[in-house]
């Protein structure tokens, strides 16, 4: 594990190659093979059980709901800083803006409330869902833009600003509600789930990392000055205010920036593969409470 982390900060190509070898060995010894069962038929409930059991074994002291607090539940110093920060959270401005945008009527007089079940309040835990009519995974961010477009408004940028503000407000009204992602009895839904899972474990980029390399094998480890967040519950805190970004970011922003950090070319925000990834990653966090909007270093 140490070889993996030190290889990452090394700059010479030799160091990187060594790190990759180290990583492969680590994967075997950690028993991550238990989770990666790509060759077998997709079985989401079994995946969910294995995924959550893996994290429970890895962090026996943590309660299930602690995972939604990401790196803060892995590092005592960070935890104390975060508690202090939550007294005066940096996402407050975005939250207020989101509330304002959410209630503001469109030019045709309708509002976001007309597009969503239960007027858009307390529904974050049901997204993403598989829309059998559209035949694809619909994330909350996609649904927000679909709502804007169907009402003749300009869609938001997927990565920050207004999109982050509106989804922050919608997450805030859903705080504490457990993720409840359903996979309908539709082969297309299962295929989307499986595609997301494949993406999660597939290596990419010049550094040859998969999402799982950092967020399954190494949560709690340092990557330079940062503490890596566990994949379990990672989406529950979205959208987030990242001090590193100096602002709010959505799930789209997190996916694209993660992909560029491993030196691969990121897909377009809300690309089919990213939506499938969000579907998979949300499903395996079923039962964990929504804690967004969050703040991260």
């Amino acid at each position: 594990m140490m070889r993996f982390v030190s290889g990452l900060v090394g700059t010479r190509p030799v160091g990187i190659r060594l790190a990759v070898t180290g990583l492969a060995t680590a994967a075997l010894t950690l028993g991550a093979a238990q989770i990666v069962q790509a060759s077998e038929a997709p079985n989401p409930p079994a995946d969910l059980k294995a995924f959550q059991a893996f994290f429970k074994d890895k962090f026996p002291k943590l309660k299930r709901e602690d995972f939604v607090n990401g790196p803060y539940s892995m590092d005592e110093g960070l935890y104390r800083q975060w508690k202090e920060k939550e007294e005066f959270p940096p996402y407050e401005f975005a939250l207020d803006k989101g509330k304002e945008l959410f209630g503001k009527p469109f030019r045709n007089g309708k509002t976001f409330a007309d597009c969503f079940p239960n007027k858009g309040i307390g529904i974050r835990q049901n997204y993403p869902y598989f829309d059998e009519k559209q035949g694809k995974v619909v994330t909350l961010e996609l649904a927000v833009n679909q709502c804007l477009e169907s009402n003749g408004e300009q869609p938001y940028s997927y990565v920050k600003d207004d999109m982050a503000a509106v989804t922050a407000y919608m997450a805030f009204t859903s705080r504490g509600k457990p993720f409840d992602i359903k996979i309908p009895n539709d082969p297309r839904a299962l295929a989307a789930y499986n595609n997301g899972k494949r993406f999660f474990y597939a290596r990419r980029g010049q550094l040859n990392f998969s999402c799982a390399s950092c967020h399954v094998q190494s949560p709690g480890e340092r990557i330079r000055a940062e503490v890596l967040a566990p994949a379990l519950g990672i989406l529950n805190a979205m959208p987030i205010y990242r001090s590193q970004w100096g602002g709010m970011g959505t799930i789209s922003r997190r996916f694209t920036s993660c992909n560029s950090q491993v030196r691969s070319v990121p897909l377009k925000p809300q690309d089919e593969e990213y939506r499938d990834l969000e579907y998979y990653l949300s499903y395996v966090s079923n039962g964990l409470p929504i804690s967004g909007p969050g703040a991260r270093p």
């Binding site: 005066f88 940096p90 407050e92 401005f93 207020d96 100096g246």
Partner: protein
């Protein structure tokens, strides 16, 4: 438009703890945008906290202070229900102010 200032002032014993968050770009003037042009300097120069007509905290800020700055301090003499006035002025002459009650 909502205020650019968020403040929380809590009195306990004889001290009052004040926390404030101000929404401001705080551009230093040394950063370039995606087209390679300099973003002109735009930062808060003075922040003033007043209590009972007296300035209790004055900060002279410059371009080195972060975006959306946060500050925290404590002072003696505040009571629950007292007014606390916060104001800032930036290098372009813009300003904002807010009066909050001490809790």
């Amino acid at each position: 438009m909502a205020s650019t200032i968020r403040v929380r002032a809590r009195s306990s014993g004889d001290t009052t703890e004040v926390q404030a968050l101000i929404q401001h770009p705080m551009d230093s003037g040394f950063v370039k945008n995606s087209k390679g042009q300099l973003i002109p300097p735009h930062f808060i120069q003075e922040v003033v906290f007043e209590h009972g007509g007296k300035k209790i905290f004055v900060a002279d800020w410059g371009p080195a202070v972060s975006k959306d700055p946060y500050l925290k301090f404590a002072f003696k003499g505040g009571k629950k229900g007292d007014d606390l006035k916060i104001s800032w002025t930036d290098n372009k002459g813009a300003s904002d102010q807010l009066t909050a009650k001490i809790q």
